[in-house]
């Protein structure tokens, strides 16, 4: 802590415009990072445009992309695609939590359950969620259902393993005291176990959101005619490369926002005192 603050304190008097610069301090480096990213993007665009073989892809560059994005923001089709994708990820995560949290608690709490589940769960976890696609298509009569199932398969494991890990780590004294105070099973679950593992659960959900969002796009390449993944495929088929890049941008921004939201929830539910 001390080592990190003192260089800044020494450097501070050298800054010429103390007010504005100091206030911008926390965002300086992130902004610089974004600038570098845009520059590399622009450089790539220039290179593609200068090469006769790749010239037709020139609209991947930042300029055309932002123009396309601006146009798309005014169109209902983009918002429909976002809505469809968010619905699928929401439904998949919902089922992921509904299965993952109880299973995680079971596996974390009971040694027998843990010993039984270990090999099957580790095995299933290593199977790419997309590998379930053919099976999902057979089981569900709608593509939408199949995609939600894939999101479930992607989000289940992080949630399950994080929750189980959290339960295993619970201070045995907390159980003893609660039993001693006359806690029933449901009371133990609601007042002790769930709050105790809330942080680990949220961390698992955050991981799950990341994986699910990544899996969602390729899942939407298949069958459905809505969602951001479909929008990418559609743009490719119509050779509208600036729209394609714009959708990629939207996917990235939403993913970033979802992760930020999870981070906020984690801080909200964190009972650990800082410092």
């Amino acid at each position: 802590m001390k080592a990190a603050t003192s260089p800044a304190a020494i450097a501070a008097p050298r800054q010429s415009g103390p007010g504005l610069l100091n206030r911008l301090q926390p965002v300086t480096y992130p902004l610089a990072g974004i600038a570098v990213m845009l520059f590399v993007w622009w450089l790539g665009g220039e290179y593609i445009a200068s090469n006769p073989d790749t010239m037709i892809f020139a609209s991947f560059a930042p300029g055309p992309t932002f123009v396309a994005l601006w146009n798309m923001l005014g169109q209902a089709s983009l918002w429909d695609a976002i809505g469809a994708s968010l619905y699928r990820i929401g439904a998949g995560l919902f089922w992921g939590c509904l299965l993952g949290v109880p299973l995680g608690i079971l596996v974390g709490y009971f040694t027998t359950a843990r010993q039984m589940a270990n090999v099957p769960f580790q095995f299933l976890r290593m199977v790419s969620p997309l590998a379930w696609m053919p099976l999902a298509v057979m089981i569900f009569d709608s593509w939408n259902g199949a995609i939600v199932f894939l999101i479930l398969m992607a989000s289940l494991w992080p949630i399950l393993f994080s929750t189980a890990h959290g339960v295993k780590r619970i201070d045995p004294g907390w159980f003893k005291v609660a039993r001693n105070l006359g806690a029933s099973g449901p009371q133990m679950l609601r007042r002790i176990i769930l709050p105790a593992v809330m942080m680990d659960m949220m961390a698992g959900i955050r991981l799950a959101v990341g994986v699910a969002w990544v899996v969602l796009v390729p899942a939407e390449y298949l069958g459905v005619t809505s969602g951001l993944g479909y929008a990418i495929n559609d743009a490719r088929d119509t050779l509208d490369y600036s729209a394609l890049a714009a959708v990629v941008l939207v996917i990235g921004v939403i993913g970033y926002a979802l992760d930020g939201l999870c981070g906020m929830l984690m801080r909200r539910f964190n009972w650990q005192l800082e410092g």
Binding site: G173, R179, P195
Partner: protein
């Protein structure tokens, strides 16, 4: 209200075939009595206390409280541990009221009782404080209030003050005994500390290990509250130490000499 505890022929192994941790424990603790279990590390004090709390069942024999066999934990016989084990996602008030909440007590009643208890343990101003920001002694006070909230007949203390500084420890020892005596709660305290034993006990039960037995006992008929500096206190202290060493001499362990030097030095200083 207190309750009598009877230890009926208790023997225990943690696993079939493992070594015998407790053997032939036979004792009665009277209603409202303050009993202290003293003995070296590993002699089975905590094991025995867990049995009284219903958190562990003996492999032979049983614990009876007011004549009824203890088979499960109950808020009527409450155990406190060396660690306060407070719930960090609840504030002081919620921690103290937890047992009442489990019992389905109404909100207003919980509120009143918790207020009284916080007053009793000197934390009336900290009811909404985060328990993680309390000192070790304050945390043990919260744990004490939490244990008292369900009006237990029996309070079982497993070295609950050993992690505290000497001043805090002394005041908590006095307070707990005073509270239990005032409410007629039967108190069983486990300790390594000879002073703590004399300070808190009507009767000291001396345990030996391998296997754990109650080898000897000693009444401490001193008036309350007790003055550690008085000559009668020191007399009992010496007597307990002699008894302890005598009992301990039965077990073939080569360390009593060094312990003796340490004890003596404490009494000189």
């Amino acid at each position: 209200m207190g309750a009598s505890i009877s230890l009926d022929g208790i023997s225990h192994r943690y696993k079939p075939g493992a070594s015998t941790v407790l053997e032939g424990i036979e004792n009665q603790i009277g209603s409202g009595e303050c009993a202290v279990l003293i003995g070296r590390s590993g002699c089975g004090k905590s094991t025995l206390l867990h049995m009284m709390a219903g958190l562990l069942l003996p492999s032979e024999g049983c614990v009876r409280i007011n004549g009824r066999q203890v088979v499960r934990p109950s808020a009527k016989w409450n155990m406190m541990f060396q660690k306060p084990s407070l719930y960090p996602w609840m504030n002081v008030r919620q921690n103290v009221g937890l047992g009442l909440e489990f019992a389905g007590t109404g909100k207003a009643e919980v509120r009143d009782k918790v207020d009284q208890l916080l007053d009793l343990v000197g934390l009336a101003d900290s009811s909404t404080v985060n328990v993680q920001s309390l000192s070790g002694g304050q945390q043990q006070r919260v744990a004490l209030a939490r244990s008292l909230a369900t009006h237990p007949d029996v309070l079982l203390l497993d070295e609950p003050f050993s992690a505290l500084d000497a001043f805090t420890r002394a005041s908590l020892q006095q307070e707990v005994t005073a509270i239990c005596r005032a409410r007629g709660i039967t108190l069983v305290t486990v300790t390594h500390d000879i002073d703590e034993a004399i300070l808190m006990a009507d009767r000291v039960l001396i345990m030996t290990r391998n296997p754990g037995r109650i080898e000897n006992e000693m009444a401490v008929p001193l008036p309350w509250p007790r003055d550690t500096a008085s000559s009668s206190f020191q007399g009992h202290r010496r007597a307990l130490m002699d008894q302890f060493e005598q009992s301990d001499g039965v077990t073939p362990l080569p360390e009593p000499e060094s312990d003796r030097v340490r004890f003596r030095r404490v009494s000189n200083g």
